[in-house]
């Protein structure tokens, strides 16, 4: 298994490189000129040039790519200057910026013709100048406060209902539930949010309309329930349909017939034999959904003023705050890959047929 995990980690490198390449191509070639985002409402050419230089977007693209790789690897960004210019004095080193002095001394001795980093610091949002890693870590909490309960509730209810529906498969109840699911799935999430916030939150006052506090419990008990309920409600219909199909797939298997031939009651067959096997595709499905919980539901987060990652990314998109989007994408891709690996390793616990080769 060690070898398997090692190999999988090794295989992640090209994928991660690919993700970085994709992001780079997207943002540096296709995307607009970031300098204009940063320039104010009255700007002149010189200022824009100055910003371009600070961002390094005036460099050739291969250097920018290397630079991006450096950013991802270290989480630090550096000011780039061409060799003819000498780096400025770094600000007095403080506990916050130890990295500065180190790279600066290096810069003095850099080979001519090479661009040299100076004044390294954590990658920052263009809009708020907040350190991007800090943005990601501080926004993840609220997102998970919503999404983990959503995932748990959705899975639990989904599985329970799916077993029930699969048990009465083909009956009128089954058909009705499936019909309701299809219809429920057809209504846009947006409509649900708008209507639910208006009626549940405002008109009937069952939940606060929006908000977030510093207390985890208060969030979970006061602010999170409505968003969670909405997300569960919306997610339940597709989950139910999917899980039902998993159960039906399993029910048609030979081992179910064997179990019946043993004299097991239908309930035991479903809850023991079928459920255990259906958990395998269900786990796969959760594995696929799991990385998504880190992004959260940006719609919920913006409507309910939850300071989560999804809302942050949305704001970044609206403001063309590229460092935030880029970092979020790359780091979430890493998390996704690690989660996938973890899920694959976990498989072993559910499916004894899995072997790590």
């Amino acid at each position: 298994m060690g070898a398997y995990v090692l190999r999988r980690l090794w295989q992640m490198i090209p994928t991660l490189a690919g993700v970085m390449l994709l992001i780079f191509v997207l943002f540096n070639w296709v995307g607009g000129d970031p300098a204009l985002v940063l320039a104010g409402k009255i700007t002149n050419k010189e200022q824009i040039e100055n910003i371009r230089k600070q961002l390094g977007v005036d460099q050739p693209s291969y250097i920018q790519l290397a630079y991006f790789g450096f950013e991802v690897a270290t989480g630090f960004t550096c000011t780039w200057r061409s060799y003819t210019e000498k780096p400025t004095d770094s600000p007095k080193p403080t506990a916050d910026a130890k990295a500065d002095t180190k790279t600066d001394t290096k810069a003095d001795t850099t080979d001519a013709a090479k661009a040299a980093p100076s004044g390294c610091q954590a990658v920052r949002s263009w809009a708020t100048n907040e350190e991007v890693p800090k943005i990601l870590t501080s926004r993840i909490g609220p997102t998970l406060t919503i999404m983990i309960p959503v995932l748990i509730l959705e899975t639990v209810f989904g599985v329970i209902l799916a077993i029930g529906v699969a048990y009465v498969r083909g009956s009128l109840t089954d058909r009705m539930i499936m019909m309701v699911c299809t219809v429920a799935m057809s209504i846009s999430f947006l409509v649900y949010i708008i209507v639910a916030q208006y009626y549940f939150g405002f008109k009937w006052g069952m939940f606060p309309v929006q908000g977030w506090s510093d207390s985890f419990w208060k969030n979970l008990t006061t602010y999170a329930p409505l968003p969670i309920l909405l997300a569960v409600f919306v997610g339940l219909a597709p989950a139910l349909r999917l899980y039902r199909s998993f159960f039906l797939d399993e029910i048609n298997n030979d081992y179910v017939r064997t179990a019946r031939a043993k004299g097991l009651a239908e309930k035991t067959v479903m809850l023991k034999h079928v459920l255990r096997n259906a958990m395998i595709p269900i786990l796969t499905n959760i594995g696929i959904a799991l990385p998504g919980i880190f992004v959260g539901s940006f719609l919920l987060e913006s409507f309910f003023s939850i300071p989560g990652l999804g809302r942050e990314i949305l704001v970044a998109v609206n403001r063309s705050d590229f460092p935030v989007i880029k970092a979020a994408t790359v780091y979430l891709a890493m998390i996704t890959m690690l989660i996938n690996l973890a899920v694959d390793v976990l498989y072993k616990a559910v499916d004894p047929r899995v072997s790590f080769k």
Binding site: P14, T15, L16, G18, V19, L21, L22, I23, L26, F27, V30, G31, G32, D33, T182, V183, M185, S186, I187, S188, F189, L190, V191, I194, V195, Y198, F202, P291, G292, F294, V295, F298, L299, G310, I313, L314, A316, V317, N318, S320, F322, I325, A328, T329, L332, A333, T336, M337, N340
Partner: protein, 360 residues
């Protein structure tokens, strides 16, 4: 092969065109009541879309036929909310107009202008207090607007799904059939896309595409289509790839290889028709998915521009109307979308049942 059939020898015994698998699938579908009803609904929407495209239906959607937020006819009694008239300071009316004639380059022709103006009379059509399903803020008929919105949304959904299917199928076919280095490369490519959470991928594409100056001419529908297609092909790729892997080892493909059929012949003449039902099901599934995505993108301002109305822009507009009690635009867009999407999803299910050789 149709040439063969037209050239059939006269000596050949009497025959009737034998039902192919598509024909059989169609027969199965015809027996599926829910499937047929869904099909009719979908076709109805498609016709509506074509009709509105051709201007036969909802051609006058942009005409302001009612007062602002005209009530639906079935609520004719309800109080109409008159658009607040601009309050003009009574004193302002008394202030004389500033004379520009000493500096105005147009001054020499003032008189001519005035004479011409007097001749022109623009009459305004009276506005109705109620509309069938209510009016929007400009007093446009919400029902017509929903139809026009359907045109954009369905178009985006269909075209994006078509592109995604083409991309996914082509790459999946190559990867699944060829395998080896090419397969590895495409797998790598696929992994890149799937290791980024889908929502984030869409947002990243949207952020970049919509801020790219070089893509500026394609803003609006083409860009939404591109965003959805470029991010949405992965599922199709995965499926088609596994289908191709499965089929490539099937005996009929081996047999084709044995008789000397080329790679491209095997890939496209032999295997493709056998996985085409998967493509079709995927296509219709993605139409649904993309219609829903379009709504959200448009709501976020990353989708179609507001002058080409879509269900998404309608919902974005309707969001604030709910609070002031003008629920009909939300309902019109929400319900028409729900009907189409429900029908499409059910059709997809029926198609899957009808086309899947296993379930037969």
């Amino acid at each position: 092969m149709s040439a063969v059939l037209t050239n059939t020898p006269t000596a050949a015994p009497l025959h009737q065109a034998s039902p192919g698998l598509w024909t059989l699938a169609w027969r199965r579908l015809k027996r599926d009541k829910i499937g047929m009803v869904s099909l009719i609904v979908v076709v109805f929407f498609l016709l509506l879309m074509l009709g509105s495209y051709a201007g036969i239906v909802a051609g006058n959607w942009s005409k302001e036929v009612g007062v602002s937020y005209a009530n639906p006819s079935f609520m004719a009694g309800a109080e109409n909310l008159d658009a607040v008239k601009a309050k003009v300071d009574a004193n302002a009316e008394k202030i004389p107009y500033v004379d520009l004639s000493d500096i105005d380059p147009l001054a020499p022709r003032y008189k001519e202008w005035e004479e011409r103006t007097a001749k022109i009379k623009i009459t305004e059509t009276p506005r109705s207090d109620t509309l069938i399903f209510g009016g929007d803020k400009w007093g446009r008929d919400v029902l017509q607007k929903a139809i026009k919105g359907a045109q954009t949304s369905i178009l985006v959904g269909l075209v994006a799904a078509l592109f995604a299917t083409v991309i996914g199928t082509t790459l999946g076919a190559i990867s699944g059939y060829m395998g080896g280095k090419i397969g590895d490369f495409l797998e790598w490519f696929y992994n890149i896309f799937t290791s980024i959470p889908y929502i984030l991928l869409i947002l990243a594409f949207a952020a970049v595409f919509s801020s790219s100056p070089s893509l500026a001419p394609y803003r609006g529908v083409p860009m939404v289509v591109a965003i959805l297609a470029f991010t949405g092909w992965t599922g199709i790729y995965r499926l088609i790839r596994s289908e191709y892997i499965k089929h490539a080892s099937r005996e009929y493909v081996k047999a084709a290889q044995a008789i000397g059929a080329t790679h491209s012949r095997r890939m496209f003449v032999h295997i493709l028709p056998n996985v085409s039902h998967v493509c079709l099901v995927q296509l219709s599934q993605h139409v649904v998915q993309f219609i829903k995505a379009e709504v959200i993108l448009s709501f976020l301002g990353l989708g179609v521009p507001v002058d080409s109305v879509s269900w998404g822009t309608m919902l974005a507009e309707a969001q604030s109307e709910l609070v002031i009690g003008k629920w009909w635009q939300l309902a019109a867009a929400g319900i028409s979308m729900a009907i189409l999407v429900t029908a499409f999803s059910m059709l997809t299910d029926s198609l899957r049942d009808a086309l899947d050789p296993k379930i037969k």
